[in-house]
């Protein structure tokens, strides 16, 4: 039996990190703003406090309460409505990347045979499932799950400890190594298999050029600066690649048990007071730092047009929100992004009418989803596509179930306003729908189709 040797633990990185949703904004820190006066920062904070109701803010306790209470009630009503409008928009902002990732994975699974062939297993799942008896197979899959989950727990705790003790260099090195492997090695394998499937010849110099450019731009986008959409695209691609690796190397029953176990782990890690992911989020919030960009997909929109500040007399509600928006963006992006944006926003351009300020303001907030969530959603849908007897209905049912789970999770996020695990609800729905569609709905629909009946 050939086992696939993972030469670095870092590939576990993307899957054990941040499997939770959190809001995009960190609390504002006046020191980040050069050129912003303290009063503006105070008003912006006040606006931020008022806008705590939005689905994207972290717990209220961290916001300092300052400023005029007069506008509070007027703000509240507007915010409540904005909450729901924002809520729907952010659900869609997450639906799109999750859907894209799943489409990439399903398309690859259905066309490239490599990812459905069995070529050995990861060392994290040493027990084989080739046994004859059902009980033995179940036992092996449970043992595989225990090993895999322990590895993930150990990695996560290690990462949190490193973060707590400020070993940033080590963490960055680890993340860079894992993204290097994903962007170069796995992409090379993927490209090779796709070319093989479609029987397209490509010479090595071209291949080198393509992979080099893809990987180098990816490293820059993910770890340094880059256009938001390109960064999002790269994060989706590496999640898809990681999910494909899991789909290929996890044996069938182990995959399902691992999916179930990891959603339980996610629930505990994010919600329990001493859970590693919760500690990671809280430590990041205390220090007012963003979580590493390589581990989180951020849906916040880019502020592409610089705007000069209108004079104080004309400053209305929207202006304050705009300030808050600017603060928020600068804080929740990594510092490098903030630099580029601050330079953009400071450049003198003609002022725009207030209405467009309001429109632009609406796009300020985003919501973040951990890459581990992308990966495990795609693993579920990909496994459904790979193993459901060629049936597309199962894949579609799992897809809809996951989206609805994500929607419900975001609803809970709007209610509770703190980091929440994104896996449990979606994976539960996904698993329930996979097994029931594959075993119950498929025969029914096949029988209906054979009699050309429509319901």
């Amino acid at each position: 039996m050939i086992t696939f040797m993972n030469n670095s633990d870092s590939e576990e990185e993307a899957c054990n990190e941040r499997t939770s949703l959190m809001s995009a904004e960190s609390p504002p820190v006046p020191s980040y703003q050069d050129g912003l006066q303290a009063s503006e920062a105070g008003e912006a904070q006040k606006r931020r406090t008022g806008s705590n109701r939005s689905p994207n803010n972290i717990a209220d306790g961290e916001m300092s309460d300052s400023g005029v209470p007069v506008r509070e009630s007027a703000l509240e009503n507007e915010e409540e409505e904005l909450t729901l409008k924002y809520g729907a928009k952010h659900v869609i902002m997450l639906f799109v990347p999750v859907t894209l990732c799943m489409i990439v994975v399903v398309a690859t699974i259905k066309s490239v045979r490599f990812y459905t062939e069995k070529n050995g297993q990861l060392i994290y799942t040493p027990f084989s499932e080739d046994t004859t008896s059902v009980g033995q197979r179940l036992l092996n899959s449970v043992l595989n799950t225990i090993i895999m989950i322990s590895v993930i727990v150990v990695m996560t705790v290690f990462l949190v400890l490193l973060y707590k003790y400020r070993c940033y260099k080590f963490i960055h090195g680890w993340l860079i190594l894992s993204s290097l492997m994903l962007l170069f090695l796995f992409t090379y394998i993927y490209l090779g298999e796709v070319l093989k499937t479609y029987n397209v010849a490509m010479d090595y110099p071209t291949l080198f050029l393509v992979i080099w450019n893809f990987g180098a731009v990816g490293m820059i986008c993910i770890h340094w600066k880059g256009p938001l959409q390109l960064q999002q695209a790269y994060l989706i691609m590496i999640s898809a690649l990681m999910a494909l690796v899991f789909i290929k190397y996890l044996p069938e029953w182990s995959a399902w048990v691992i999916l179930g176990a990891i959603s339980i782990y996610d629930l505990m890690a994010v919600l329990c007071p001493k859970g590693p992911l919760r500690m990671l989020v809280e430590t990041a919030q205390e220090r007012n730092e963003p979580i590493f960009p390589a581990l989180i997909y951020s849906s916040a929109m880019m502020w592409t047009v610089g705007m000069a500040k209108p004079d104080t007399a004309a400053r209305g509600l929207s202006q304050q929100t705009w300030d808050a928006a600017e603060d928020g963006r600068e804080n929740h992006r990594s510092p490098s992004h903030a630099d580029s944006q601050m330079s953009e926003t400071r450049s003198p351009v003609p002022t725009r009418p207030i209405t467009s300020l309001e429109e632009l303001e609406e796009e300020e907030r985003g919501v973040k989803l951990g890459l581990g969530d992308f990966i495990f959603y795609s693993v579920l849908v990909g496994k459904a596509a790979a193993t459901a007897s060629g049936d597309w209905n199962t894949t579609l049912a799992c897809f809809v179930a996951i989206l609805i789970g994500l929607c419900l999770t975001l609803l809970l996020l709007a209610v509770f306003k703190k980091a929440l695990p994104a896996l449990p609800i979606s994976i539960t729905f996904g698993l329930v729908f996979y097994f029931s569609t594959d075993n119950l709905v498929r025969p029914f629909m096949d029988t209906l189709a054979s009699h050309q009946l429509y319901i």
């Binding site: 009503n77 259905k110 189709a449 319901i455």
Partner: protein
């Protein structure tokens, strides 16, 4: 079957729905969520009705053909009733959501009206229903085969595509009517929708499967008795299944009913060697 069949059937079945989606639903995030939730509700209703049908089939004698047919018709009717029940539940949920939206909004009116929600919910139900009916067929149009080789209708894909399109529209209209009936407490509208749905599903019941669909006839066809290697570049396991179905060694005739057996009918025995 050619790509032309695939694209043709896809656009016949889903083209109008895609147009509706792109021009009326895609812009508003709230509508997209209502659409997906509607699809989810339809899916849950299908799940429950399949469960009932499955239990009934397992509890009954698989060799008794009229009984199986009767159970199928019962399954269809039960599924229709359950779908309408879930439509009603969805209406209740959306009503609550509208009250919430109204309470949250500044000017006392919700960003979306119940009529728009009814339309979107109908499209959601329709899209999911159409997708479940049509997607497997579309996947099979990409594979090799000849339609109607055993004397069945050559227009199977075309009729299925049209029927799916019709069904998507019908679900949309039924959604609007149903919600309107619930809003204004006009029970005759709701009953009319249910009766229409039963009539549409039931009317297609009248289409008798051609005699060659009979599993006994399948077994008489001379076939290679070994699983054929698949030459399809994708190597999908489905094609192994296609060949296996023809094998007379398959003891249980019930097995041949499952797994896209209508396509197998259209493939002559000697295709197995070519596959």
């Amino acid at each position: 079957m050619t790509l032309a069949v695939f694209f043709g059937c896809t656009f016949i079945a889903f083209g109008p729905a895609l147009g509706l989606f792109v021009f009326t639903i895609a812009r508003d995030p709230l509508r997209i969520i209502i659409l997906i939730a509607g699809a989810f509700f339809w899916l849950v209703s299908l799940l429950l009705s399949s469960l009932i049908w499955f239990i009934a089939v397992k509890a009954s004698d698989p060799r008794d053909e009229p009984l199986q047919k009767g159970l199928l018709i019962f399954g269809v009717m039960f599924s229709v009733l359950l779908q309408e029940a879930f439509r009603f539940l969805y209406y209740k949920l959306l009503r609550k959501a509208i009250e919430g939206l109204v309470a949250l909004s500044e000017d006392g009116c919700s960003p979306i009206s119940i009529q728009q929600m009814a339309y979107v919910a109908g499209v959601g139900f329709g899209l999911m229903s159409g997708a479940f009916s049509m997607i497997n067929l579309l996947a099979d149009t990409l594979g090799p085969g000849t339609v109607g080789i055993h004397g069945d209708s050559q227009l199977y894909f075309l009729t299925s595509a049209f029927m799916t399109m019709v069904l998507i529209f019908l679900h949309t209209f039924w959604g609007i009517l149903f919600f309107h009936g619930c809003e204004h407490r006009r029970w005759w509208e709701i009953t009319a929708v249910v009766v229409m749905h039963l009539a549409v599903s039931g009317s297609v019941c009248g289409v008798d499967p051609a005699p060659s669909r009979d599993p006994e006839v399948l077994r008489d066809v001379p076939v290679p008795s070994h699983p054929c290697p698949s030459l399809h570049p994708g190597g999908k396991s489905g094609h192994h299944l296609l060949c296996n179905i023809f094998s007379p060694e398959l003891g249980d005739p019930g097995q041949s009913l499952w797994g896209r057996h209508w396509v197998h009918l259209r493939q002559p025995a000697n295709w197995c060697g070519l596959l």
